[in-house]
Assembly symmetry: D2
Homo-oligomer: 241 residues x 4
């Protein structure tokens, strides 16, 4: 692992260019809003977006990425399968992956989960409270008991993902729903964190607690240096038995 963790923030970056309300909230794109506080925290941060060549996720970029953050919504289908496969390979080899909000329906998340990743949703004025159910987990470092978000899109159960290996947050929504909103997985050598907030029409990524969770998750998901996976035909070991 490099001495500082190298983060690539990937964003679809379509809403911001077509919807004035979203552009007002995120004038340089959601990726820029996510990247800035990470940079301020001392990480080495790049961004990449859908409409760049190879979606900005060239092999050299991925080979020098410790943790990839993914935000997408309206154009999941435009992501090329070859790039999805490349990202999956890197995750299995150890790259961390943080999937945000509507990224639940991204090709890469569905591929790594093996399920539909579908859920309930409602755009409106729900109040969301994310309760920590794993106090002591590194992703909760520096937080209080819960995070309040005054207005957010609702996501409700059933969330069609495998049972999280560690469930960190459970959301309460004022409209009557709950949601497993912070969920840890491992796939190969890679660590994956799904984090439910933020809809593009809310200023969620400007909220310090949300930024803190993402920074904590980057540290948690960063790769380790040990124990490569070894496969294939192998002789009987000289065990001295």
């Amino acid at each position: 692992m490099a001495s500082t963790i190298r983060v690539t923030v990937w964003n679809e970056y379509r809403h911001e260019q077509t919807d004035q309300d979203v552009a007002a909230l995120y004038p340089h794109g959601i990726h820029a809003a996510i990247a800035a506080p990470l940079q301020a925290s001392g990480f080495t941060v790049r961004t990449a977006t859908l409409d760049e060549p190879e979606h900005g996720l060239t092999t050299p970029v991925l080979d020098t990425t410790d943790v990839l953050i993914w935000w997408g919504h309206m154009a999941h289908g435009d992501v090329q399968d070859a790039i999805v496969e490349r990202v999956q390979e890197r995750v299995l080899a150890g790259m961390g992956l943080i999937v945000l909000h509507s990224g639940h329906f991204s090709k890469i998340f569905k591929r790594l989960m093996g399920t539909s990743c579908d859920l309930k949703w409602r755009e409106g004025n729900d109040h969301e409270r994310l309760w920590i159910v794993a106090p002591g987990h590194p992703i909760t470092e520096g937080l209080g008991e819960y995070i309040d978000i005054a207005q957010e899109e609702m996501y409700g159960e059933h969330f069609d993902v495998p049972p999280p290996e560690t469930l960190v947050f459970v959301s309460w929504f004022s409209g009557g729903e709950v949601f497993r909103s912070g969920a840890c997985y491992t796939r190969g050598r890679g660590k994956i964190f799904y984090f439910r907030p933020g809809h593009e029409r809310h200023p969620t990524y400007h909220q310090p607690e949300v930024q803190r969770v993402i920074a904590n998750a980057v540290r948690w998901a960063a790769p380790t240096s040990g124990a490569a996976r070894v496969f294939g035909n192998t002789p009987a070991l000289e065990t001295g038995v």
Copy 2:
């Protein structure tokens, strides 16, 4: 759920037709050897093989299958993606799936796991002992502390699957390896059990303890009748708040 559990045993059925040693062990195919003791246990059992139309896994067949058993090895690539997708849909909707031995590399297992599903292996004369590490689990019903298989192909770690939700068996091999050889997962409403034995060149599926595990796993993986998954846009519930 029907009053008896309806099982479909799927087999690639290629080795048995091209290799006399395999044919000697399994003259009617591995699927027949697996199906017979299940029938004797009172399950309703069908078989299906790769070279049948739609690999024998038509929509009517899958719609009347509670638990699907999968054995494949040399022809994983010949399984059509559309059928794989159909099977995945059925698993998410509740059908149980039991993946045997070299089925670890099948398209359906890799798709449901999200990983490479790779492993170490060695054909030879290894002695395998499958230790039960989850005593009390329904899949171990009626078994002793371990199952001994005098000669089997070795599969060794690292086995590149997500951490099992329940680890039932761990294998010891005389050549120096261990393997997580009985592993439970859920995907959607479906239950999945991976069970490591039997190589086509060993009489493993004729061994009563192995047959018992498969029958137990069928009962464990059979679908329940409750709690459909509901997704999509939803109004705020009338909670009376």
Copy 3:
């Protein structure tokens, strides 16, 4: 396992004898209200209460109990440690245990969990909605997407238990809290299910969905016949290596 599952419903049985409101809801005790629908479902059901000799949990009773259900609240401290130890031994040997509501603070549950089992609470008029997050799990058999309880005592996070091996229900409360309200554990050969409802001042155990969950949990927690735990000094196995 006996041909029918043998259930013992244990109740502290103090509130009902000292509080007229509780007695009005449960005139024959909470244990009787829990036992009746289980009997109607075909289980063999006994009850036992705190003030009986050995709290009704003699060795012969426990030796013929497949699943023990536990309700306690105001007199946890009156349960003798020797009986707690006896119950623990039986759970490790395979007896199922279903702990209800305020039983979270019972000696037996704390001993099996290894944690404080503390939580937040509020008596009032909260509306509770228990969302199923594990569709397909046997404990959800026959249920819809959620269970609504018009009025219940609130239990909120943090619930100081080990991370559930399987999380089946998450409760939403109108006052702003969530709770992991259906949680599965294994200890030794025994299966344990904690189920959050019902406060003694609400008619919760008369609600059919709640009765259904308890009956499902009894089936899930019933012991299997296989794989005893074997411990102690052992010779090297004759492995033929």
Copy 4:
């Protein structure tokens, strides 16, 4: 968390004073052999032993301990219950705990697990190979695929502990057994790691890979600063609903 992690290595320290063979391997006690490489790694390290007042685990010591390491074997019964309770409280509040080898039978480990923690064993000349089954886990940092220990006491399944939340190592023994030899748990805010090696009559704690695992586990188990557990009666939150 302090700027360096503060470790207390606790040792029963009886074998070394009564058995010349053990004393020859660990002339200053097992605790000293464990402490030295941790000190060299930059941790702040103290030791404590059974025969000190309060077993060396006074409240001031525990209050300034981030991670406690525990080795005991022949005198588990001599550890006072009040000290066990004090350690448990600290673990629930966030202190890490690393339990080594025969510490599986310590009062503190049994209390935190809720099970008998029993296992199989054999003193002899077994060869142990600890396979990593969680590559990428921080406890495996800097290791290869497995750790070979030329001679060790055998521990075999069934190991009567709750299913590990993360299983890191599985041991292969030349005599025919397997063992879940590296197991992660959380209890309250505290992280617990059980690590199987080293018997007092083998030079296991002088082996660099074993020292590396312990140092990695210390980093993994160190407490975080966030999200205290809050319990008790609570008003309905002003949710603006």
